[in-house]
């Protein structure tokens, strides 16, 4: 009997709930999409660096944390929000210079796995440095984004999520224009395709690397502020980056639209699974749903939704 109950909770009840209360379903999906936007933002940082330098930057999550810590630290010292943002952005650009000089340049032309290991080291370094500089406490972060619940035609939406989504949207649009329309963008796509050829037409690799790492740092800062306002700025923030990994697998490592769509799918998928299937499995689906989905993708579509199909010619 118990088994039948379980089957019912798995295959019948969720759909009955959805059918009976479509507004609630919509609410859950929208809530999930808005969280998903923030996953996208973290994933975007990975994609930018991977595309331009072929490095899988394990430290992206720590960069998010480090940026958020610096930002909140400056706020706590009485720096106004706009100044704190600009100062932190400058810190992230400085970090990009340092990383290029001390990590990327000495390791140029090494195997990708070696660069990957270097970014693991970088992530520990930033973690420790952040703790020394700003302490290990949880910092509350409030930059004045309203958090009132809003109701649109019977559907409840969190105002904060809506603002966060709008900010992400603007950022993504700006990046798209930057990469598609400017000569720096063209140079960057060239570097992503072929280092040697890019150098031969006069593109300085060094400058391009500094630009991408800076952009990734600033994207990380925005992600850190948004996540930090939601959860408080604390060291577990770098774990949010782990959620970006399934997003990348879904979207494809090399695709900016992939990172965005992947984030939206993971965000809404895990919320729907949690709310409707949570009772059947005793909850906590939200924690593993993204990874299970990523596994399925790895089995059937390893290049992700938008990634380049990898064909090795021998």
């Amino acid at each position: 009997m118990e088994f039948l109950d379980f089957l019912q909770a798995l295959f019948v009840t969720p759909f009955v709930m959805m059918w009976q209360n479509p507004e609630f379903l919509l609410e859950v999906v929208i809530g999930g999409l808005l969280t998903g936007v923030m996953y996208s933002l973290v994933a975007l940082g990975f994609v930018l660096i991977y595309k331009a330098s072929g490095v899988f930057n394990f430290a992206q999550g720590t960069m998010v944390l480090f940026a958020a810590l610096t930002f909140v630290g400056l706020l706590e010292h009485g720096v106004p929000v706009w100044a704190a943002f600009i100062l932190t952005a400058l810190v992230m650009i400085l970090l990009a210079f340092i990383i290029e000089r001390l990590v990327l340049r000495p390791l140029v032309n090494q195997e990708p796995i070696i660069l990957f290991m270097a970014t693991i080291g970088l992530s520990y370094l930033l973690d420790g440095f952040g703790e020394i500089a700003w302490g290990g406490d949880v910092h509350a972060l409030d930059i004045g984004i309203p958090k009132e619940p809003l109701v649109f035609g019977g559907v409840l939406v969190n105002e904060f999520d809506l603002c966060a989504a709008a900010i992400c949207g603007v950022l993504v649009a700006a990046l798209a224009v930057f990469f598609q329309k400017t000569s720096i963008g063209r140079a960057l796509r060239a570097v992503a395709d072929d280092h040697q050829a890019a150098q031969s037409v006069g593109i300085p690799l060094k400058t391009i690397w500094i630009i991408v790492w800076s952009v990734a740092g600033i994207v990380g800062l925005v992600a850190g502020i948004l996540w930090g306002s939601n959860l408080g700025v604390q060291f577990s923030l770098s774990l949010v980056a782990l959620k970006a990994l399934p997003v990348l697998i879904l979207g494809g490592l090399t695709s900016v639209p992939g990172a965005i769509v992947g984030g939206l799918i993971v965000g809404s998928g895990e919320k729907v699974a949690e709310v409707f299937w949570g009772p059947a499995t005793g909850g906590a689906i939200e924690d593993w749903f993204a990874y299970a989905l990523a596994l399925v993708f790895l089995l059937f579509r390893p290049q992700g939704l938008f990634g380049e199909r990898i064909i090795e010619r021998v």
Partner: protein
């Protein structure tokens, strides 16, 4: 097509260059010069150091010894993008194109160094940046006409056959308006017809724009036809330097190619 008519002073001089990788000596005290407006062929058996020579000239490799003088400025090492900025363009032995981009975009990357407008203007796609972009587009369209690749302007280059990819790569180098053009086996893997086309383009570039060309090629027929001068490398050393006729008659060259026993 043996030259002499408008060939000028050397624009590039390589002085006793030595280059090793660990214990492997790729180039040993090689000196050569490239004269303005000539077509110079660098030939030699496999592993003779021909590509290493090009890589030294455009800054991919930094020789341990020797100097390179380009347009009167001596240097021992130079980064590839600096070489590009000074007017050295090149193509690669195994086609190095930006595979995800179209033919047009690939050739446009050759104009990157010539673009002066601020990226904020470009992002707005408006004002001076738009005028500038259009000027470069006009230039690139002329190259596309010249190389007869109008039909593939919008095709991602990854989908093109090999011969056409080589042509696009030449186009990208031409877009840089180089003074010195380095071609690494421009005709490798081509059929006779494609080779004839490519030879014609190389000679036309040399004729019409006065571009100095240094090329590596294995097809001796092509080399003898299009070059003004030939340098022969073998085991990282220069063994001959002269007109195609001289080189063809040179005993060392014949030995190197026919495989007379070398002391290893």
């Amino acid at each position: 097509m043996s030259g002499g008519k408008r060939i000028g002073e050397p624009i590039l001089e390589v002085r006793s260059i030595s280059l090793s990788f660990g214990g492997v000596r790729a180039l040993a005290e090689v000196s050569l010069e490239i004269r303005a407006h000539e077509v110079l062929a660098i030939i030699g058996p496999n592993g003779a150091g021909k590509t290493s020579m090009l890589n030294v000239i455009n800054g991919f490799y930094h020789p341990q010894e020797g100097t390179i003088t380009f347009k009167g400025r001596a240097r021992q090492r130079m980064r590839p993008h600096e070489a590009a900025a000074q007017g050295i363009a090149r193509t690669f032995q195994n086609v190095a194109l930006f595979r995800g981009m179209t033919t047009l975009d690939n050739i446009m990357t050759g104009r990157l160094l010539k673009m002066r407008r601020n990226f904020l203007w470009q992002a707005l796609h408006w004002g001076p940046a738009l005028t500038e972009e259009l000027e470069h587009r006009v230039f690139v369209e002329r190259i596309i006409d010249f190389l007869e690749i109008e039909a593939i302007r919008k095709t991602p280059v990854g989908q093109l056959p090999y011969g056409l990819q080589k042509r696009v790569e030449l186009g990208r180098a031409l877009a840089m308006e180089p003074e010195l053009l380095l071609l690494d086996e421009p005709m490798a893997g081509m059929n006779v017809e494609e080779k004839e086309d490519m030879s014609r383009f190389v000679l036309d570039v040399n004729d019409e724009f006065g571009t100095t060309i240094a090329l590596i090629e294995h097809d001796m027929g092509v080399v003898m036809d299009i070059s003004d001068r030939v340098v022969v490398l073998d085991y990282g050393r220069k063994i001959a330097d002269g007109t195609p006729g001289d080189v063809r008659a040179n005993a060392d060259v014949i030995d190197a190619y026919l495989g007379v026993a070398h002391d290893a």
